[in-house]
Symmetry: D2
Subunit: 291 residues, 4 copies
Amino acid sequence: MKVGFIGLGRMGQAMAARVQGGGHELVVYNRTRAKCADLEKAGAKVAASMAEACKGREAVISMVTDDKALLDVVTEGVVPGLPKGAIHVAMGTHSVAVLREIGALHDKAGQVLVAAPVLGRPEAAAAGQVGVVAGGPKDAVAKLAPVFALIGRRTFDAGVKPEGASAVKLANNMVLGCAIEAMAEGFSLIRKYGVEPATFFDVMTDGLFAAPAYKVYGNIIAKELYHQAGFTTALGLKDANLMLAAALAANVPLPSLNVYRDRLIDAVAHGEAELDWSVIARVQARAAGID
Amino acid sequence: MKVGFIGLGRMGQAMAARVQGGGHELVVYNRTRAKCADLEKAGAKVAASMAEACKGREAVISMVTDDKALLDVVTEGVVPGLPKGAIHVAMGTHSVAVLREIGALHDKAGQVLVAAPVLGRPEAAAAGQVGVVAGGPKDAVAKLAPVFALIGRRTFDAGVKPEGASAVKLANNMVLGCAIEAMAEGFSLIRKYGVEPATFFDVMTDGLFAAPAYKVYGNIIAKELYHQAGFTTALGLKDANLMLAAALAANVPLPSLNVYRDRLIDAVAHGEAELDWSVIARVQARAAGID
Amino acid sequence: MKVGFIGLGRMGQAMAARVQGGGHELVVYNRTRAKCADLEKAGAKVAASMAEACKGREAVISMVTDDKALLDVVTEGVVPGLPKGAIHVAMGTHSVAVLREIGALHDKAGQVLVAAPVLGRPEAAAAGQVGVVAGGPKDAVAKLAPVFALIGRRTFDAGVKPEGASAVKLANNMVLGCAIEAMAEGFSLIRKYGVEPATFFDVMTDGLFAAPAYKVYGNIIAKELYHQAGFTTALGLKDANLMLAAALAANVPLPSLNVYRDRLIDAVAHGEAELDWSVIARVQARAAGID
Amino acid sequence: MKVGFIGLGRMGQAMAARVQGGGHELVVYNRTRAKCADLEKAGAKVAASMAEACKGREAVISMVTDDKALLDVVTEGVVPGLPKGAIHVAMGTHSVAVLREIGALHDKAGQVLVAAPVLGRPEAAAAGQVGVVAGGPKDAVAKLAPVFALIGRRTFDAGVKPEGASAVKLANNMVLGCAIEAMAEGFSLIRKYGVEPATFFDVMTDGLFAAPAYKVYGNIIAKELYHQAGFTTALGLKDANLMLAAALAANVPLPSLNVYRDRLIDAVAHGEAELDWSVIARVQARAAGID
């Protein structure tokens, strides 16, 4: 397939390399050209502009950091450059609102929008082991199956609306945020009763919660490793705001989200924006008068 | 070891059978004598009173449903019957307050209290596969190790205070309640965006949340199987109240607990007390105007 | 009317003096006899026991600090001492549960229970200016009207169940707690924007909130006068727990109560139990990283 | 003073009429010209464009419904039309973010921004009885004093930053929203105990809460008059979102706001967007299983 790829951050590079490795004819673009080097070496063509990366492509994938960047990609690149009938696959984590907005722009330009945010880290992407949550017209999603199969280990069907895929990704992240807050509350309770955090970690991860979410974040909390940020408080809050906006647009009250979002805000107010977002366990400990 | 066992509900019978099977000299007591039948057949002696079940024992295990029953066991049975220096092992889920109260009574009577609530269902107990969370004097807990090894697959050290074990069990259950509420919020969000619940279930349990808590309760929620109650809303609320009391006694604010506890109350107010406690997902759906 | 009065704290003394001043034949009792002195001088008879304070009375008023004390009054004094058909007027702030419990005891003894908690401070009581919230059988409440008219400026009809009066008093206090928390949040927000607290106080109390709740507590918060405790955090938390229990007994979720109750717990966890309960504004400021 | 006035909704007309009545030389503009009629009759000049309404003015007042409209006013009218050194007085309720944004635009154009949202309804504005919360450079606010004195009964000093005035107005509205939610919770509690809503209304408004907020909204709730919307749920939610944004920009967690905002969302999800926002009391009643 003739594929364009815009946005070569760590995640984007890993994903584009998978597509390239799968034998597709790839054109890439990144504002900082240096990040195209490895892909160029591997055989990808480097476009001079976003529009050029879209020209003649059957599909163009965008993997950019936020809604503003996505809007730029669409107005500067995809709308003017991508052929009618071709597909724009937005694989970043975006707001429901922006997906609806660019969906309307693509509609007008005769192009198709598929949203396909991924679940997993750059290392997983490099190994083709992320999860892909795909939302959009059935035939477009079907056509992209071989590309998704290179990038991810599994594709989840989020229905025919692109924003549905965004809702799934955000809801999944929300469940994670709530799990971290719940652990935070649990750890603060048992600490007040003189129990070692390691014991509570073992109890959780040995039984009901023997899953990455609890193993990774339970360990950070138990050992207070907040300075090794995998995902920062600032990013967590940005994400939480996307969830809140998605919930508002669909009229869904989310009390647990509010709780952990407030903890993130408290953390930011205490200068902990760049620590790992599980530092909300420290916020909870503070509230309980620990330390 | 000479062991007494008081309280032969489903869980108690399964646990007592393990102890008996391990070659210990067992005396059992239950208010409804009929429930002693299987154990008697297996060789256990049946006591005529709680005090008799404690007489001459090195340790007596209690497995009763609530704090009131535990207080009865202690005042009618353990304090008058158990020898000085012997151990009372409270294995039910009890409040921090009652453990402190009976701890004082045992102290006065020269007896030792260990709290050792278990994690898991009767089937797991019958197979010796539950988790045991033990809190109490180190030597007493050490002495009980062979008994715990029969009942459970693993013993977790909750420190030297009996109520610490209760705090761990309650905190673990709280993390579970929060996980259910978080899923409830997530499911309601994605449903509003037209996504199939099964997709969200798959996304969660395939990745970050590949653990029993999410597989069991996510499945009930996705399929709305609330009438097959494994653990009822009423029991969930009773449990949540124990957590709230433990938190109050230790001055710990628990905002996430408050959220899911309010959902349980809402469910009870809607006649859903005897449904599975994950029916809070229906409460959340109602709040979002779904159905 | 022949009236007994049990419980002569500051509030009780002020109320009993009003009854005595109204020409009723009064017998008083207090565990610390010294507190009866002023009333004795004014003409009241002092009883040697709670039961004696109830003997031959048409009504006995209790004004004690908590549920435990009320249960003692009822079992030691009212049930054995008060004539059949006579009325026990519980004027303290009590739980719904204890009122139901003593209601059953009085029923069995052929006595009548009216709950009539008061709204206002000792100074208001001394001037007969409190509010009286009365719940109980209509004829009993009617019979007490002249007594209530001496104690209070106005009697509010809480229906035929004693616990209804308790619910009203607790709900009113809850609205107050929520108002304090709301102000706390408002003050923290405007402080972050560099606005003087006095300005926000003026805006609130000049307009929509020109009422004692906001004037008294807004002033304490704006000037941070938490050390002049009118009502302590510890008492606020005790009260909040009564509300929570009343809500649980009636299956009512109360999310705002949970929020301000958690703030009270946070305050207690920070050694602020004996400060004015509006110190939750400091808790809120801490959460926002102020100071 | 030479004053321009842009935005003649009900509130704007009332305010502009006060300014005109005070003898100032007034030029007005409104997109729908018909709304200028009364003011023109009273002697005001009607401008053909926003820029014209700013030309040669010492101050131009804007009173528009939302941030988008304000941005239009600034870019189309104030920046191109208003003389250097002159003042733009934004008197609508706006987000902190947009005030910062237009502040920067005015700065660049050598103009001065004052934010001065008003507290009160159109009738109060017509009588010059609203409150004015003014934020901006001291000398600019001082210069506007005579104008504010015509519009309002009192001017509150919100400091030297325009967004401070917005924060005060939003915080005041937030305290109101929280008061309504608190009443909602109180009413649901006492109803469950068989108490008449009117009693609870009397208790609140007779004592601690003898203020407009409680009298107006307590009455609507007690009598369930939600169809006579003074301020709709939809507007309440729009307002709540402004508060949330102001809090986020300043890193302030606001748990009580989250509670009542979620109630508003629940109401909207139940088709109650156009009812009075105190319909959150019905949402709370629903959650408690009432009706």
